[in-house]
């Protein structure tokens, strides 16, 4: 415990340097803007801006990206409330009551409650994170190859069991991500693999960023452009000292909903397939059930803003826990952060807590600072963010496309990757229209290399027998949980059939 405090103080010493404070400030502001733009969320911002972080050392780079992640979580609420369009999928639940509040002329109060709830959610979850992470990492140090592989299977199984998308399409998405990660030189024999059309560009493999920017940059913009055909009505809000006082007074009445949302969001966020979107929707549902006046939900209840906003911020911290301690990302955004660590020359996993204490604790301490910064910037510059909402897509889209192209070129400096990214973007958009989930593929391409090496090492240890995953207590437990998750959808299909009787069978 004392050790944790010592590390945390060292972390703060890293954060409170002028450069890093500036980085947090810029990151939070950029994140708020990205979050506020309808259609763009933390994952898009982090994917598109990751290549820009090569300028600074890894610790500052991850502090910057984590600040964007936080800022975007706060910012999502702005467009949910002012436009009634979620700024990101994570802020969907905020529209339910935030928009009605704005329509009744209480937009300022809704914004202040959202920001305060985000702050509380973020802070509670960072405290939990600080306490949970070191013991989890210490425990994970003892993991062997079979355990690591079982853990990955579990991560993928959560998408099938909890993701809620079409099962064959989810599995397809996971598998294609894994196959793409296998392109290039084989790690064991050194032989070239899957070199399509003998293009030399495939020898260095398919960089995860190429897929991530293709999907979260290009495909996302194509998708957003198609969706945002109609005109939008921006609500008016002016924020004064008095209204901040009122808003905070109102926020204090949501104590129960905010605390519940923070805790729920944090634990849901830890699961790879779940994360901030389901976390905030669940928090909204639970807040409604706990409320004495559930009938006022959907008509501008403050609890309905506070619960999902605290939950989505808490979930974003929660998703960093497995990323940092186990090397398994808890969300698409943290998958990209994890890939970034590899580019910066770090080896993700529990050993980070031993070998890269500066990186780990600098990041954790920066989360505390980012929360405070984002709250202040958010409240102080509400008019600026409302202005962003009025930016037409015909300015935003080409700028984002240009950022994607340059960002896709920078890491490998190969036009081959830019073309590949373009193809991923176009195909990703076409697939998304048919309900193919995209997040599993991004997670899979990041985890792919480690999944393959841990599988091959395990099989070597056991001379080819898959039973090795069931002989060790830890990997066996993980595998059984994974199998349960994989079978979960089958059970619900079976139940549905039984319930709907013979008429259901003919459908």
């Amino acid at each position: 415990m004392i050790e944790i405090f010592q590390h945390l103080i060292e972390g703060f010493a890293i954060v409170f340097t002028p450069v890093n404070l500036l980085i947090i400030l810029v990151g939070c502001t950029v994140g708020l803007f990205i979050g506020a733009m309808p259609g763009l969320g933390s994952v898009n911002g982090v994917a598109i801006l990751l290549p820009m972080t090569f300028i600074v050392p890894p610790t500052s780079a991850i502090i910057f990206l984590a600040a964007i992640y936080y800022g975007a979580m706060y910012g999502g609420a702005i467009s949910s409330i002012m436009l009634g369009i979620p700024g990101a999928s994570t802020a969907v639940a905020t529209t339910f009551d935030g928009r009605p509040m704005a329509m009744q002329g209480h937009a300022d109060r809704a914004l202040i409650v959202a920001a305060s709830a985000s702050f509380v959610g973020g802070t509670i979850s960072v405290i939990l994170f600080t306490l949970f992470a070191p013991p989890l990492a210490a425990w994970a140090l003892a993991f062997g190859s079979p355990d690591i592989f079982a853990l990955m299977i579990l991560a993928f199984a959560t998408f099938v069991g909890l993701g809620g998308d079409d099962i064959p399409k989810t599995i397809f998405s996971i598998l294609i991500g894994l196959v793409l990660s296998a392109v290039g030189l084989d790690i064991v024999s050194g032989r070239p693999r899957l070199i399509f059309f003998d293009l030399p560009g495939f020898y260095h493999g398919v960089n995860f960023l190429v897929l991530a920017i293709g999907i979260y940059g290009i495909a996302e913009m194509l998708w957003t452009l198609e969706r945002s055909g109609g005109k939008v009505i921006v609500s008016q809000a002016s924020v004064s000292i008095a209204s901040i006082k009122d808003g905070i007074g109102e926020f204090l009445t949501t104590f129960k909903a905010t605390t519940m949302g923070s805790l729920l969001g944090y634990f849901v966020g830890i699961l790879p397939a779940a994360g901030a979107t389901p976390g905030s929707l669940m928090a909204y549902g639970v807040a409604k059930q706990l409320s004495k006046h559930p009938e006022t939900f959907g008509k501008g209840n403050v609890d309905g803003v506070a619960a999902p906003e605290s939950a989505n911020n808490a979930a974003s911290t929660g998703s960093m826990l497995p990323m940092l301690t186990l090397g398994i990302p808890g969300s698409p955004t943290t998958a990209i952060l994890l890939g970034g660590m590899v580019i910066w020359g770090l080896e993700p996993g529990p050993r980070l807590f031993v070998t890269q204490t500066e990186f780990v604790w600098g990041l954790i301490a920066s989360l505390y600072a980012a929360n405070v910064f984002t709250l202040v910037i958010n409240l102080a510059f509400i008019p600026a963010f409302i202005w962003v909402l009025k930016l037409p897509f015909t300015i935003l889209a080409p700028v984002i496309y240009v950022l994607c192209i340059i960002g896709g070129y920078a890491p490998t400096q190969d036009m081959h990757d830019v073309w590949l990214m373009f193809i991923f973007g176009v195909v990703g958009y076409l697939l998304r229209k048919l309900d193919y989930p995209m997040a599993p593929a991004v997670l899979a391409i990041v985890l792919g290399p480690l999944a393959e090496s841990s599988l091959r090492q395990s099989l070597l240890m056991s001379h080819g027998s898959a039973m090795i995953f069931f002989n060790r207590p830890l990997s066996a437990t993980l595998m059984v949980v994974a199998l349960v998750l994989l079978l979960l959808p089958l059970v619900s299909v079976f139940k549905k059939k039984k319930a709907s009787g013979p008429s259901g069978a003919s459908a």
Partner: protein, 165 residues
């Protein structure tokens, strides 16, 4: 939507089969002493992809997935036009980068998109078309030392490099 769902599933099945065939160029069985062959991992994963595609087609026949029941059109005229403009102009810009480089392809693209698709004023369009490449150059070439492709316009940049580096 229904037809698109089938076409996509078949296309993805063909892709999976290509992956399998490509992986099978390497040993996919057990190699004595070194474990699974180099092609085994992608081969079995692609096999899994193919099975998923078959399941999607089964779902299509049984009409049990939402897109296979949907009567909406996959892409109406409006979204098709948006898609062709968006993706098409982007593809043309990437192709132009090979010829005239980033610093000339990007402004052309911005002018096309903002002026002709967005109908923004020339002043705004012009400012963006000039500012974007200048900021990009400063950030990537000067600060990060990453050279972006310049195609045939490469010689134009020699004086700038002499000035800054």
């Amino acid at each position: 939507m229904r037809r698109a769902e089938l076409i996509m599933a078949v296309a993805m099945a063909i892709l999976s089969a290509c992956f399998m065939w490509k992986s099978a160029e390497l040993p996919i069985g057990w190699v004595q002493g070194s474990g699974p062959g180099a092609g085994a991992y992608p081969f079995w994963l692609s096999t899994g992809m193919l099975i998923c595609c078959v399941l999607m087609i089964v779902n299509w026949v049984r009409r049990s997935s939402p897109p296979s029941r949907s009567t909406e059109s996959y892409m109406d005229g409006h979204s098709l036009r948006l898609f062709l403009y968006g993706a098409g102009s982007l593809g043309i810009m990437i192709a132009l980068i090979h010829v005239i480089g980033v610093y000339f392809a990007v402004p052309l693209y911005l002018i096309f998109y903002m002026r002709f698709l967005g109908r923004h004023a020339w002043r705004l369009t012009g400012t963006m078309a000039v500012a974007t490449p200048v900021i990009t150059f400063m950030f990537f070439e000067i600060v990060l030392n990453i050279t972006l492709p310049k195609g045939m316009t490469e010689p134009l940049f020699y004086p700038l490099f002499d000035l800054f580096l």
